[in-house]
């Protein structure tokens, strides 16, 4: 009996050991969630970012992983379906127990993930330029805030191209609406008359631009230099630029400065009618630095297609991922709470020759570049800020957010802090 029980005990220990060992095996990798649509409308933009993440993780593993462990990518497909983004984020955090999520493109997908990620205290790195007015404890915004793209772009049009009349054209959803609200307030503050600003919204995927382009043409031929600031999104751009070209509006007459048209979008367009129009980003593939050349080569080798382009959100993921790696190393663990503390102040060289820094408001510092579209689909830099610009979560040009700042370091530790009333509203998005 005694013998049997001791045998049983040994068996029990063995089983426990085996279980622990297998558990330890699972713990041997650090899981990274990739939350980008691989099907549906947004697949056009997001698939590339999924590949970028896989490349970066692969590269990190070749360098020996992180904290002595291998990184493992967990790729899920939220299928361009906003509620599904929230579900998949929950799945990543509870089932797969990922240490960080890199993902989302549209603002609406981010807003749908936000409650989940705050509830489960995860980490989300969001790589796309967006409308601002948000700073969550659990989200790191590696894309541009409005003051890192829209405001400098308008300054360029105003000072260098001497634009006097403005068309703010956008797709009808939250990013263009908020950006245009900020821009309108900014233009009015610069002394532009209300009648010299034309604001126009079109539905998603709008394909018949005839009347709108004719209107822009009329608005722009009133003798004053006119510029179009375009927040037109995705698929609607091709017919828009085609119509501009066909109605004879050249970039010399009425330049169009776009916030959502990059190298990737250009690769799917006939660039003839676009030459000379402008785009504002924080990264161009044409930037001539050794870091960028190495990144492009790495991308081409990974994707096995020398014709693929790199773009701004890819660079954002590159910076965001490496900042996360540095923060994890600094904290010595992947615990979200520790990483959140450690990542603030982390610096990493970006691809355009500067060094970006994670700020207390969870945004990063970036240079602002303005480029003219060339006929090979690349953007030629015509203007750039001489230093990096710090991302501002809450716009200073909107009366309701003027006094608000975000600062996740002690003693404020708040995403929506009113500097006048000294109160934290808790409404972070």
């Amino acid at each position: 009996m005694n013998r049997l029980s001791s045998k049983l005990r040994t068996l029990g220990i063995a089983v426990t050991l085996a279980l622990v060992a297998s558990g330890a095996n699972a713990e041997d990798t650090i899981k990274v969630g990739v939350l980008h649509s691989l099907s549906g409308t947004m697949a056009i933009s997001e698939t590339t970012l999924k590949d970028t993440m896989l490349m970066l993780i692969d590269e990190q593993n070749k360098k020996g992983g992180l904290l002595g462990k291998k990184l493992e990518a967990v790729v899920v497909d939220p299928a361009s379906n906003w509620p599904l983004f929230a579900e998949k984020a929950r799945e990543l955090l509870t089932k797969d127990k990922v240490s960080a999520i890199f993902g989302c493109w549209t603002s609406v997908s981010r807003k749908s993930v936000l409650p989940v990620i705050e509830e489960l205290n995860g980490l989300l790195f969001y790589p796309v330029q967006y409308e601002g007015e948000e700073s969550s404890k659990n989200v790191f915004y590696t894309g541009a805030a409005p003051n890192q793209q829209a405001i400098p772009a308008v300054d360029y049009l105003m000072n260098d191209l001497k634009a006097k009349r403005w068309v703010l054209a956008g797709t009808d959803y939250v990013y263009p609406r908020t950006t245009n609200k900020i821009l309108e307030a900014y233009l009015l503050s610069k002394g532009v008359a209300k009648k010299d600003i034309m604001i126009n919204y079109t539905p998603f995927g709008h394909s018949d631009w005839q009347s709108i382009v004719a209107d822009i043409k009329k608005f722009g031929s009133a003798g004053k230099k006119t510029a179009v600031v375009s927040t037109i999104n995705g698929d609607a751009n091709v017919p828009f630029y085609k119509e501009l070209g066909n109605q004879g509006i050249s970039a010399e007459k009425i330049p169009v400065l776009a916030f959502s048209v990059g190298e990737e979008e250009l690769s799917g367009m006939d660039t003839k009618p676009l030459v000379g129009h402008l785009a504002a980003w924080n990264y161009f593939m044409s930037i001539d630095t050794t870091k960028n050349a190495a990144f492009i080569k790495q991308w081409h080798d990974y994707i096995k297609n020398p014709k693929r382009t790199t773009n701004d959100p890819m660079e954002a993921h590159y910076i965001g991922f490496n900042m996360w790696v540095k923060a994890v190393e600094k904290a010595g663990s992947t615990d979200p709470e520790a990483v959140q503390k450690a990542i603030i102040g982390v610096e990493f060289p970006n691809l355009t020759g500067g060094t970006s820094k994670m700020l207390p408001n969870h945004h990063i510092s970036k240079p602002v570049l303005i480029g003219e579209i060339q006929d090979d689909g690349q953007l030629l830099t015509v203007w750039q800020t001489n230093k990096l610009i710090d991302g501002d979560a809450w716009s200073d040009f909107l009366p309701e957010s003027k006094a608000i700042i975000a600062d996740w370091t002690a003693p404020i530790s708040c995403g929506n802090y009113n500097t006048k009333t000294k109160k934290c509203s808790g409404q972070n998005f």
């Binding site: 691989l38 099907s39 409308t41 697949a43 056009i44 698939t47 590339t48 191209l161 009808d172 126009n200 919204y201 079109t202 539905p203 995927g205 709008h206 394909s207 018949d208 005839q210 009347s211 709108i212 004719a214 209107d215 031929s221 009133a222 003798g223 698929d235 091709v238 017919p239 085609k242 119509e243 070209g245 066909n246 109605q247 004879g248 970039a251 010399e252 007459k253 330049p255 990737e264 979008e265 690769s267 799917g268 367009m269 006939d270 660039t271 003839k272 009618p273 000379g276 003219e372 060339q374 006929d375 030629l380 015509v382």
Partner: protein
């Protein structure tokens, strides 16, 4: 002046006179030198340097300079990566045929990757156009002279003005004369003499152009306190009268323009819907994959363009039958494989075809990547037919309008005059009776569905010229297509045509007042109300067959 210094002066002048012939030779050399210097400066990295180089080149009296400037504007000026030499390239299939920039000497061909293009910015392009305009003002071809004058008008300065004044005397061509007098007239308005200005207004009144309207508007404008900016009341009144005359003309043009916009939007709607009006209207199949069949047509255009990259126009013509065949084949497979088991069960058909549409989208994503593909537009389809300064009709829309009508009448003839058409109509009217008459209904169903799908493919070719070619192309148009077919009356081709054009026109006439988003909503609301009143659409099918 002291006599002594006077003497010295004379001596210097004398000496200078003696030197003159030598100097002029020196000048020629100097010109040659500036030319080479300017060429070298074109390679400079800074935009400003290149701008200066362009101005220097334009100032040199050297025909080669014009050649270089034009090549630069067309994006054909390169440096060779190997030896940094400046060359002009002519595009061959894969590489460039190059010639030296300084003397057009042929240098053979080089690989594209061995060259580096001299880049331009908008400001450089504007200045280039102006400078080339000045150089081309004396060209033999009147068309080039006209373009030159217009290019100069875009950035007017004193030098251009004197040049135009001088040129007007020698100019023979009426059109060019008119363009120059217009520009000079606008300048004349700035004169100090009242008579001059009044005569300028009288001249400009009959030459309505955007520049004239802007200038006249300036004359009648008030400042913030309500005072007129223009002090001279005679000039102001004349300008007001002239503006009134021009504005009444403009209203007519604006109406014509909106009409054209409406018709062309209608043409796109009809093209997208006409295939559906066969499958849905005649056969009663709710085909949610209709949009994807259009997408297949658009991708066929892309593939064919890739196969024949040097014949843009021809590839488009070839794409029409090819797209028809491919979409028709896929349509027949869908019909034989899925739909024929589901006749009479519309809900299941709807679900099944919706599944097919997702399947087709993802297939295209896997084969062609989720990115949009760029389909180039041939030269004859880009740009616009410029009727005057206020009215221009874009070529691609004009072609699509004509193409839409062609397809429509062809389809009508097929249904009316061919055996297949007869059988299709028979099956649609009464399936059992047709079967009893010996018509193979299964085969007719497959062919009808193929015909409808093929037409969708053709629509895809047209859409590839105005829209994105990507996996989502179909989704953009599917709702509109159903809307048109239902509004026009199920089973009636004419109904589809009328419905398409009226929806297009309604949309475009509403848009200026309501904005694009609201206009779309208003049209939808109108259709819903209309369907409440007349559930069978504009042109309902009549007769016993419908009831059955």
């Amino acid at each position: 002046m002291k006599p002594n210094s006077f003497k010295r002066c004379c001596r210097v002048i004398l000496g200078l006179m003696l030197l003159l012939p030598i100097l002029s030779i020196g000048q020629e050399n100097a010109a040659e030198e500036t030319f080479t210097q300017a060429l070298a400066k074109l390679k400079a990295a800074s935009t400003q340097e290149r701008g200066l180089a362009i101005e220097q080149l334009a100032a040199v009296q050297n025909p080669q300079a014009t050649v270089v400037l034009k090549a630069l504007l067309d994006g054909r000026l390169f440096t060779l990566k190997a030896d940094d030499k400046l060359v002009i390239g002519e595009e061959l299939e894969l590489d460039y045929q190059i010639s030296a920039a300084e003397n057009s000497e042929k240098l053979g061909t080089v690989d594209r990757s061995a060259t580096q293009k001299i880049t331009l910015t908008n400001s450089l392009r504007t200045s280039l156009r102006k400078l080339i305009g000045r150089l081309e003002l004396n060209d033999k071809d009147a068309g080039i002279r006209l373009a030159a004058v217009n290019a100069m008008a875009k950035s007017m300065d004193d030098e251009s003005l004197t040049l135009l004044h001088e040129h007007l005397v020698a100019e023979q061509d009426k059109k060019v004369q008119k363009a120059i007098t217009l520009i000079l007239g606008l300048e004349q308005l700035n004169s100090a003499d009242q008579a001059q200005r009044l005569s300028a207004i009288a001249l400009l009144k009959d030459q309505a152009s955007q520049a004239v309207v802007n200038r006249l508007n300036e004359l009648v404008d008030k400042d913030a306190e309500g005072h007129y900016l223009e002090a001279d009341s005679d000039v102001r009144n004349q300008a007001e009268a002239a503006l009134a005359k021009i504005n009444s003309e403009l209203q007519v043009y604006a109406a014509i323009e909106t009409l054209f916009f409406g018709l062309s939007l209608g043409a796109v709607l009809v093209l997208a819907a006409i295939g559906l009006s066969i499958t849905f209207g005649v056969m009663g199949v709710i085909n949610m994959a209709h949009g994807e069949l259009m997408m297949l047509g658009a991708y066929t255009t892309y593939v064919i363009q890739q196969l024949m990259p040097n014949h843009l126009g021809l590839s488009l013509v070839v794409a029409i039958p090819a797209a028809f065949i491919i979409s028709a084949l896929v349509g027949i497979i869908i019909e034989r494989g899925i739909i024929r088991f589901l006749y009479g069960r519309p809900l299941e058909t709807l679900l099944a075809t919706f599944g097919v549409s997702l399947f087709l989208q993802q297939t295209v994503r896997s084969i062609f990547s989720p990115l949009n593909r760029s389909v180039a537009t041939p030269e004859w389809m880009s740009g616009s037919l410029q009727i005057n300064d206020f009215l221009s009709l874009t070529w691609n829309r004009l072609y699509i309008l004509v193409f839409c009508l062609l397809v429509f009448f062809l389809l009508l003839q097929i249904l009316k005059r061919t055996r297949l058409g007869l059988e299709v109509r028979a099956v649609a009217q009464n399936r059992n009776m047709a079967k009893a008459m010996g018509i193979p209904t299964g085969r007719v169903d497959a062919l009808t569905f193929g015909l409808g799908s093929g037409i969708a493919g053709i629509a895809g070719v047209a859409l590839s010229q105005i829209s994105n070619v990507g996996p989502n192309l179909g989704q953009t148009y599917i709702v509109d297509s159903f809307m048109v077919v239902v509004f026009g009356g199920v089973g009636n081709l004419w109904g589809t045509l009328v419905a398409g054009f009226s929806l297009g026109l309604a949309n475009k006439f509403l848009e200026p007042y309501a904005g694009a988003v609201l206009a779309k909503i208003l049209v939808l609301v109108f259709i819903i109300l209309f369907i409440q009143k007349r559930p069978r659409g504009l042109f309902p099918q009549r007769g016993r067959a419908v009831e059955g």
